[in-house]
């Protein structure tokens, strides 16, 4: 009896530390499609993405009873994760860094679902290859199911986003002007120094 209580407490603790659950425990019950074509290049800050999601009807009815909200994210394809440990995929969803850019967060889940969302790609999205994933969340905000535009190997249906450079002509000009000014003033120093030493010599 005491052992069972102990194991129960232990499993509750384990569940508590694994808040957000693991990716492998999620069911892929959503079907997600998006407007970008395979290998299309979108421009950050300019082009739009339209995402459509619905429930996969092959699953038994009632599987979505706990789904309350949906969050859709831009996720890095494996090629953009290579040699970049800060985009690593791990099973624990709290630590997972695959999907770092939100397209829409906590949109209410409506049944029967056939929802669409359109937005412009944000200007702070970096240049990389992406796919789109939608998470269904329960009332606590924990992920309980997902759907994505690519397959399980994340190899098909990937698209690219081209980021803004962040450079402006005014910045370029300012950099060059200040640099030139530094060098010119250095030569000014040498000239002044030579003049001073000549003056002290002639005294």
């Amino acid at each position: 009896m005491a052992i069972r209580a102990f194991l129960f407490v232990l499993s509750c603790l384990a569940a508590a530390t694994c808040r957000g659950a693991t990716f492998s425990s999620l069911q892929q019950t959503l079907i997600v499609t998006a407007s970008p074509q395979p290998a299309q290049v979108l421009k950050a800050g300019e082009d739009e993405i339209t995402v459509t999601w619905s429930l996969n009807s092959t699953f038994p009815a009632g599987v979505d009873s706990s789904y309350k909200t949906v969050t859709i994210k831009l996720c890095y394809a494996p090629i953009s994760q290579k040699d970049r440990g800060w985009r690593k995929t791990v099973d624990n969803l709290v630590k997972d860094k695959t999907c770092q850019h939100k397209i829409v967060a906590n949109k209410p889940y409506i049944f029967p679902s056939n929802n669409t969302f359109t937005s412009t790609v944000l200007r702070d999205v970096p240049t990389a290859t992406y796919f789109i994933r939608a998470y269904a969340q329960n009332s606590e905000g924990d992920e309980v199911a997902y759907g994505q535009t690519t397959d399980s190997h994340k190899a098909v249906n990937l698209f690219e986003i081209q980021a803004i450079t962040g450079r402006h002509v005014s910045l370029d000009i300012a950099s060059i002007c200040f640099s030139a000014f530094s060098i010119v003033s250095l030569f000014g120093f040498f000239f002044l120094e030579k003049r001073k030493s000549k003056a002290s010599e002639s005294k």
Partner: protein, 504 residues
């Protein structure tokens, strides 16, 4: 009416001075010309160079997305940032000798400012590496700082002056981890997007560097009696033979050992400056601001830890002489290695920060302790030995980053542990340093031949040079260095000129 040359001795200085007009007191809160003013100018400009060199690491989470950098690109840029200064520091020693520390450091600071301005227009991994490489040259101002302090402060306070100037300059590596995220936040709030805001932010360290160069040129002075260009023309300063100075520097094995061990205290400090913000951001999921604050506290410990190391070295020398300095250096640096190993193993945020702080104190104190030994390795070639040791620090930074922190071979925490192991191993070399007149860690002073301090330092001058009287400064220094015997009875014979001393 013309005033004769003898008037130099009647010139009033704000601080008490010795016969060479070097200050015998170090007054931190004074800015009196030329001594304390030069101190403040030199540590501030060295601080500015450190801020510029390590301005990129706290903003890397933004920059790596903007420039599409891989972990290898980031590692290479970090290595480039510290590799330029390896040779620049050695060259700086020579430049100080020839042109004086004022011109040498103002020139280098102004020459590297364009690299910082141009960081704003970097748009690829290669351009990022190039700007970090050229900005890193500015770290050679360390040598001009130490050289300038040694020219203006007498032996009694030069350790303190050097330690505080070096430590407060190194502060820049910590301050930048606070300053850059703050400036970035400010600019973002004004309305710029992330990828533009970081570029604008780089103008701050660049402008700071430019202004400090101006300050040094207009307000600084090489020597208590004037600037090099004036003194060379008037014939008061004698120029030594570069080839001889170089020869005596590279043939002294102690310089090479200290260069390597400095690579594993200062080099480790530079490495941590490069990687620690990203480490906390990625491993513990803190935000950019918090990662910056944590990373800053590592460098900010320099406020007291490096000067403290220098003072500890002087304190141990009073009782135990040079052997005390060597033992303390070995113990402190080895403990630094131990804490580095622990840092890599710890998995919780709070404990990790605490361990990092203890680690920072030990590693920076080791830097201060190293420069408690360096002034005694050679008198004639002090500039180049200092430059070699300083350059060795950067070599250590390059080595550790190449081996442990480049690409994805080791995770950062494994790299930290392995770096700690390497620290402990390389620090063992200190056991090999031996001064015949004072001893080493395990051996006492040489009893055969009764080597004195004079013998050691006079061996750097040939008999023809001694006839011309060039060795007089070294002779004065040998007398003063007798304090390195410690309080116990010295083993060497009484000195040549027969001055009575307390232990006969």
């Amino acid at each position: 009416m013309e005033i004769s040359h003898g008037s130099y001795n009647q010139k009033k200085f704000a601080l008490p001075v010795d016969s060479e007009h070097k200050a015998t007191e170090f007054r931190l809160f004074s800015a009196a010309a030329p001594h304390m003013r030069a101190f403040h100018l030199s540590w501030i400009s060295f601080f500015a160079c450190f801020v510029s060199t390590f301005a990129a690491p706290p903003l890397l989470p933004i920059i790596r997305d903007n420039l599409d950098l891989t972990a290898t690109d980031i590692g290479n840029a970090g290595i480039a940032a510290v590799s330029g200064a390896v040779f620049a520091r050695i060259a700086m020693g020579t430049a100080c000798d020839l042109f004086g520390p004022r011109l040498a450091s103002a020139t280098l600071t102004l020459l590297t400012a364009p690299a910082v301005y141009c960081t704003s227009i970097a748009d690829s991994p290669i351009s990022f590496l190039l700007v970090r490489f050229f900005t890193g040259f500015s770290l050679a101002t360390f040598v001009s700082t130490q050289f300038w302090m040694s020219s203006l402060f007498s032996g009694r306070v030069v350790g303190t002056a050097n330690g505080v100037a070096g430590g407060w300059g190194n502060l820049g590596g910590g301050a930048t981890q606070l300053i850059m995220p703050l400036v970035f936040d400010l600019i973002q709030n004004i309305g710029a997007t992330k990828f533009t805001a970081w570029r604008i932010a780089f103008f701050i360290p660049a402008l700071f560097q430019t202004l400090s160069a101006y300050g040094i040129f207009f307000l600084g002075q090489d020597l208590p009696d004037g600037n090099y260009s004036e003194l060379h023309k008037s014939g008061e300063k004698h120029k030594d033979n570069f080839a001889q100075v170089f020869h005596h520097a590279v043939t002294n094995y102690r310089g090479w050992i200290l260069a390597l061990t400095y690579g594993y205290c200062f080099g480790v400090e530079l490495t941590i400056d490069n990687i620690i913000a990203q480490y906390f951001y990625d491993r513990f999921n803190v935000n950019l601001h918090t990662a910056g604050i944590i990373a800053a506290s590592f460098g900010l410990a320099n406020l007291f830890s490096r000067p403290g190391g220098g003072m500890l070295s002087d304190f141990m020398a009073k009782r135990f002489g040079m052997r005390g300095r060597l033992w303390t250096l070995w113990v402190v640096q080895t403990l630094g290695g131990v804490f580095c190993i622990i840092l890599g193993q710890v998995g919780s945020l709070g404990v990790s920060v605490a361990v990092m702080l203890v680690f920072s104190v030990f590693v920076q104190a080791a830097c201060g302790l190293t420069f408690g030994v360096v002034p005694f390795v050679s008198r004639r070639s002090l500039g180049i030995i200092s430059g070699m040791t300083g350059g060795g620090g950067n070599v250590g930074a390059v080595l550790t980053q190449v081996i442990f922190f480049r690409g994805s071979r080791y995770s950062t925490e494994t790299g930290l542990t392995l770096m700690g192991v390497m620290m402990i191993c390389c620090t063992l070399l200190i056991t090999l340093i031996y001064f015949p007149q004072w001893g080493g860690m395990f051996c006492g002073p040489s009893s055969k031949g009764k080597t004195t301090e004079e013998d050691y330092y006079m061996s750097e001058w040939s008999s023809s040079e001694r006839e011309k009287g060039f060795h007089r400064a070294s002779l004065k220094f040998s007398e003063n260095s007798r304090s390195e015997r410690g309080r116990k009875i010295g083993s060497a014979a009484t000195p040549i000129d027969g001055t009575p001393n307390t232990y006969v």
